[in-house]
Symmetry: C2
Subunit: 449 residues, 2 copies
């Protein structure tokens, strides 16, 4: 006799005393003179010890013997929800490949999102990277704050969903109000802030920087602030308690209400107090930042801010870039975009990326002897803008600028104990071309010869 | 008055007629002289039209007016299960970066899994790549078959779970039987078959090749075959019907039973008929293969089999590689690994990768004038084996072998309409070093100068 039963069925109530074989035979209507065995679909015999360990929903077979061939096929229900690591660790592998530059790249991902959020601002666009490392504020935190359009609770919920492209986001509870992606109008150098192409960006960047991310956001025309915390600790706790890992809570509250803030995160009080009076905003609050990251962000402050100034050069200085000497070459329209970086520690620093004068793009622009601009339309309706700059070897001197903080290609360890061997690309040589995607530098991209 | 109610609560039974405001006031115990409004947490007023569109589980506010400030914070339950595209599309981006070589790389991922599965075989290890393109068999299919240890239904379930590292796999229903990862014993050139480091490999490789993957597997010492189908079509159907996308069914059946096979997949009958008599095996059956892939696999058969022979050179020929002329240099132990490729079409081809004589590694080995071997122990206990080969320019002739099918670096289109700009790395120049990870070539990895 073969019976497929489920541990969910009442007949297999594991709370009762199931140790008596006779009782079980009665329960499964097995004649008392017949031998039977209860096995999992992996043919493990479910004896009394195993019985208690069984998980709910397990499919079991009632067989004459353990190895009896199944006379009929059976179907077993399974669940294969992705592991929460897809959400919190996916950045590890991506940013690992970028080596020393991984933190600036992760921060840039968050700046990308802020640029997208502020793209339709009618007044100035302000993006602040705050490094709150002074221990009097509580635990160390990295906050990326923008005065953009904010997110509705539905959009915040969808932000938390791991997916591979933003084109699949749901924006409204109501079918009739769903957004469809609209390609922005063409603007010079594609400075349309339509940067963050993949939906994975924000979460993986945040979890590359720390262990926990709190999104605080207020959409335009809403009286409510929405908050959502995703944290590694919380995921682990839920997994241990066999709870649904992908269930969470959005806190909806009025602006300025910090009654839920604990003393270890008292820096949040300041962040939340400043909410009142803002029409809309988004704050990405990252905690659980590891000591190495804190050390890098403090010690190499000028290096990584310089890298960010290079990446967002055209957003900061306009389509023509930062021409320092010849005003006639400057862009007519200077973008109203401020990217501010603040380090609150002892001592504190504050810096507007527009004031960076030695980012590579500024050096390239101001040392070129001649430039050639071109524009190409692709058959799919896209546009490629290009600039060739001429840096001759002139009067016994190389006019091509030197990178002040040259990125040393890491010495290949060729170590078969970690996967670095699979990641390190040849980057020993200097780039000749650089690619900007919608106005934003894509690190490490080079044009093939 | 602010009341947080849930659409799940019986008070908001949307099946009834809810169009009468007076009736609703009664239902929510609102005094008849008081105005009220029902809004979502995004402050969309739920009028009669919207009411019917509401999704189950929506949190609603009962407010005096739409913009009333929340006097108390409210919590809203959300769900953020990853989108199924993480499972079926993750390969798209990875393999996209590898351009023309994407199909051999995806097939190699499946060969990796087969090598791992057969690592403990006591008899010969056989891995077959079958391209079933003869339309008399039904729809076109790519089958990767191995005579390895197979998977239990629990392991098959876990195979389907998207996660980022195999170190987190669950192998048993029972806590007490969980496997922990054991690093294999050191062997020459690390030919331990412990290749597939990331858990994402198999699924993303399969979905890069086609739209549907059927895993058929029989573990050692089990009388049952387990089958699981993941298909894009099925995922889409479930999403449309708002069903749980990550719930599926494993079919458990006796070997050789193909009663569930439809005529459009009649090639499966052959695959399943051959099950009887095998102690264990795994077959990865991919359908929904697009015409371009079929064309490439047929037309460039010799090119991609040559690439696979290069990638698995040391698995096929042993730790010393394929020394064609000098037998004394050959490995003492030739691995009992056969990687067979069969194209069933008109005409049919069949090929054992060991017979490939012009893969790059064979050419390198047989043209080098001198070699220098070294071994380095890393501080973490790993070992790096290295071989330097000397290919001098000799008697007016370059002894470094030419790549017969040189991979042309794709012409950079610099097109801001697709993300290729973010992916193409500089690959114009020839590699000087190549990295093998546990004996398997990692494409595109180079040692930094």
């Amino acid at each position: 006799m073969v019976t497929e039963i489920s541990a969910e069925a009442p007949v297999l109530d594991r709370r009762g005393d199931q140790s008596d074989e006779a009782a079980r035979k009665k329960e499964f209507a097995v004649p008392s003179d017949q031998r039977f065995v209860l096995v999992t679909t992996d043919r493990t015999v479910v004896n009394d010890g195993k019985y208690k360990e069984l998980q709910d929903g397990s499919t079991l077979y009632l067989l004459q013997n353990k190895d009896q061939v199944l006379p009929v096929a059976t179907e077993e229900n399974i669940n294969f929800v992705p592991h929460y690591n897809t959400l919190i660790e996916s950045g590890t592998f991506e940013y690992f490949a970028e080596g020393q530059k991984s933190l600036p790249c992760a921060l840039a991902e968050l700046v990308d999102n802020a640029l997208s959020a502020t793209a339709k601002n009618t007044e100035g666009r302000t993006i602040e990277i705050q490094l709150l490392f002074d221990r009097t504020f509580g635990k160390p935190a990295v906050v990326v704050l923008d005065n953009g359009c904010g997110m509705t609770s539905k959009q915040l919920n969808n932000w938390a969903v791991y997916r591979l492209s933003k084109f699949m986001r749901e924006n409204s509870t109501f079918e009739s109000e769903r957004d469809t992606y609209v390609r922005p109008e063409p603007v010079p150098r594609s400075l349309n802030s339509d940067i963050s192409y993949f939906g994975v960006g924000g979460k993986q960047a945040a979890f590359h920087i720390g262990d926990s991310v709190r999104m605080i956001t207020k959409p335009i025309n809403s009286p409510d602030v929405h908050e959502l915390v995703l944290s590694k600790e919380e995921f682990q706790k839920k997994e241990q308690n066999k709870e649904d890992v992908f269930k969470g809570t959005i806190l909806n509250r009025k602006p300025g209400d910090y009654s839920h803030v604990t003393s270890s995160e008292r820096f949040l009080q300041e962040v939340i107090k400043e909410e009142t009076g803002k029409d809309s905003f988004t704050a990405v609050v990252i905690t659980g930042v590891c000591p190495e990251h804190i050390k890098y962000l403090k010690q190499d402050f000028s290096e990584w801010t310089r890298q960010l100034a290079h990446i967002y050069h055209y957003y900061i200085h306009g389509a023509n870039g930062n021409h320092k000497t010849d005003n006639s070459l400057r862009s007519n329209v200077i973008p109203q975009i401020d990217i501010l970086v603040t380090l609150r520690d002892k001592p504190s620093y504050s810096m507007n990326l527009r004031k960076v004068e030695d980012d590579m793009q500024t050096l390239y622009i101001n040392s070129a002897v001649d430039t050639f601009e071109f524009k190409v339309k692709t058959s799919e309706g896209g546009t490629v803008d290009g600039v060739l700059r001429y840096h001759p070897f002139l009067y016994d001197k190389e006019t091509y600028p030197k990178d002040l903080n040259v990125l040393q290609a890491p010495v290949e360890e060729d170590d078969d104990e970690n996967e670095s061997g699979t990641m390190n690309q040849a980057r020993g040589k200097r780039d000749i071309f650089e690619c900007f995607w919608n106005g934003r530098l894509i690190p490490y991209t080079t044009v093939s010869e």
